[in-house]
């Protein structure tokens, strides 16, 4: 009954491919493939926005309720390192954009250079984050584990470095205990962001080696472009985190 069998048999015989080797067979044209995969990455980033959104919601509410604890908690963070990290990430976004351009214009050497620079900057970011976290660990400001200490908030003078800069008022015990909430959110948010950085750096290494074998300078720059989108997104998340966590009392 089916006449599709006649046509089906025709499809079995291998026909010469008149499309680039990197075009997948379920797409009709290369443009459709680029378009679809690009769109897919944007949708994925939308899901990431919703994912971080939950954290931002929790932060919003807690900061509203415990403003003074959040202010004094944020004074414990180093503006120097935070700004350094922000700069590092913004520059890495630039180098990533340059990498995408290099791939689009088929400049393999430039592509590798910029990918390499992005990698270095990404690792630098994680290194600085490590320094900051270590500092928190040493000062017993890691919530829940490792004997969280409220001393610096009950008696700010006991922490001369921070006190010199901010001259904080001592917090009441009730409010001082809320600084632990601030640090919980600090670690949850920067931790989740750092996890996304680690994944990004891992993918970056993979892309670097693929770029070395010429995979992206033959016109098929989609992966680099889509990865660039991801990298920019992770950067933007940090650009929100930075003022929310570090700059609470600095308008």
């Amino acid at each position: 009954m089916s006449d599709s069998s006649a046509v089906a048999n025709g499809a079995v015989a291998e026909e010469p491919h008149d499309h680039p080797s990197y075009q997948r067979h379920h797409f009709e044209t290369v443009d459709q493939q680029f378009d679809a995969t690009n769109f897919a990455m944007w949708i994925f980033l939308l899901t990431e926005v919703m994912f971080f959104g939950g954290l931002f919601m929790a932060y919003l509410i807690m900061r509203n309720w415990y403003y003074r604890a959040f202010v004094e908690g944020s004074h414990q963070l180093s503006i120097f390192w935070g700004t350094a990290n922000t700069t590092v990430l913004i520059i890495s976004s630039f180098t990533m954009a340059m990498a995408v351009w290099s791939a689009q214009t088929r400049r393999q050497r430039a592509l590798l250079t910029f990918l390499g620079l992005t990698f270095v900057l990404g690792v630098a970011f994680l290194g600085i984050k490590g320094i900051e976290w270590h500092e928190k660990w040493v000062k017993h400001h890691v919530p829940g584990i490792h004997e969280y200490s409220e001393q610096a908030f009950l008696n700010p003078a006991s922490d001369p470095e921070v006190y010199k800069e901010y001259h904080d008022q001592p917090l009441s015990p009730a409010m001082a205990s809320k600084t632990e909430e601030y640090f919980f959110l600090y670690f949850a948010m920067t931790g989740m962001h750092a996890l996304h950085m680690v994944i990004g750096i891992g993918l970056l290494v993979y892309i670097f080696f693929r770029a070395r074998s010429g995979a992206y300078t033959n016109g098929h720059y989609t992966y680099v472009e889509n990865f660039g989108l991801y990298w920019h997104f992770v950067d933007i998340i940090w650009i929100f985190l930075y003022p929310l966590l570090y700059l609470i009392s600095r308008y």
């Binding site: 309720w65 003074r68 009441s172 015990p173 009730a174 409010m175």
Partner: protein
């Protein structure tokens, strides 16, 4: 009846005796809620009948044998509008009606008798202001508005009295409230309806509605002698609240006489009403709730006092209309021990408080 086996008869009898489609209507709001409920049952039946009729009728009239050729119809804007607007209209009516009921149930009248409920895994602790404590039982008088102030001391629970058609979540960390007025003497179920762990299904009890006289009798017979306010006074002193809240001119803490339900300006500039929630918060989170003009030096009592203790303190402050006893306790070295208090006459305030002149 002798052809029916005894087992079957037992089953039928049990069923007929207990057969009911809704719980007894034992509160003022119950018939009102049932009215809306039955209205919705009616609408649902009409809707279901309509849909079933359409399906059955069309299936019979237009089945393949009878109607072999289908007529392609795009649609009908008129019909679409009809079955959009009519359901929407009905749903909006239901919404308004339901909203009225909701506000009614969750807005206690000012003169309601207040009873405290503390939920914990896995029991309900009920505290009458006169000092009567119950576990999993709630005795109340008929025809009197009663407000329950509910809190949990661990996880979410939910206080439910189906016969009254009321239910309210017991949340750790904040008070919730609901009110009702019982209209029928009897004993009714009390359930915990929010899953709370292993013995969630054991967290049930009875609500006993009594005539006013029976209730007075019960109150007299069940009290330990100390009202909640008296327990609160005891705590006020033992926790050294009176060290700062001592009504002296140079006191470090604000005067608490008549503070309940008054308007307070906080140090943030905000003006709030000092209700139960505020008082509880002020004891457990004082740093958020400093009265204007005072320093934020009050320590938090979080972790040092149980929910019942907080309730006792709140009751004490609610009934504080004179600082006479506060000043007294500053001057005395000890507080009369428990058993020297005589039980107050039923329905009257305990004798110790009679000395307090406004």
């Amino acid at each position: 009846m002798d052809h029916i086996s005894p087992v079957l008869w037992q089953f039928l009898d049990k069923w007929l005796e207990h057969f009911s489609l809704f719980p007894p209507e034992a509160s003022k709001i119950a018939p009102q809620m049932d009215a809306l409920y039955f209205f919705m049952v009616l609408i649902s039946l009409v809707g279901l009948t309509l849909v079933t009729l359409l399906i059955v009728a069309f299936s019979i009239l237009y089945n393949k044998k009878r109607h072999p050729q289908a007529v392609q119809i795009e649609g009908s804007t008129l019909l679409e509008a009809t079955w959009t607007i009519i359901p929407l209209g009905l749903f909006l009516v239901i919404f308004v009606w339901g909203a009225l009921l909701y506000f009614r149930i969750y807005t206690p009248p000012p003169n309601a008798m207040n009873i405290y409920v503390v939920g914990k895994q896995w029991m309900w602790k009920i505290e009458h202001p006169g000092g009567q404590h119950e576990i999993n039982m709630l005795h109340i008088p008929i025809n009197e508005p009663i407000q329950l102030t509910i809190i949990s001391q661990d996880v979410f629970h939910s206080f439910s009295i189906p016969a009254f058609r009321v239910k309210r979540e017991a949340i750790p960390g904040r008070y919730t409230s609901v009110w009702f007025e019982a209209t029928k003497v009897g004993t009714y179920h009390l359930f915990c309806t929010q899953y709370c762990g292993t013995n969630h299904s054991q967290m049930i009890g009875d609500v006993v509605v009594m005539s006013p006289d029976d209730f007075k009798q019960w109150l007299a017979g069940s009290t330990s002698g100390n009202s909640l306010a008296m327990d609160g006074e005891r705590l006020f002193s033992s926790l050294s609240c009176n060290a700062c809240h001592n009504s002296q001119p140079d006191a470090r803490g604000p005067n608490l006489v008549n503070v309940y339900d008054s308007k307070l300006t906080l140090s943030t500039g905000q003006t709030i009403t000092a209700d139960d929630a505020y008082l509880r918060d002020a004891i457990l989170n004082p740093s958020q709730n400093i009265t204007q003009g005072y320093s934020p030096i009050m320590p938090t009592y979080q972790g040092q006092i149980s929910e019942e203790g907080v309730i006792a303190l709140v009751e004490y402050i609610k009934n504080l209309h004179s600082d006479y006893r506060v000043v007294e306790t500053l001057n005395t070295t000890d507080i009369p021990p428990n058993n020297e208090q005589t039980a107050p006459p039923p329905g009257q305030k305990p004798p110790a408080q009679k000395e307090v002149k406004p």
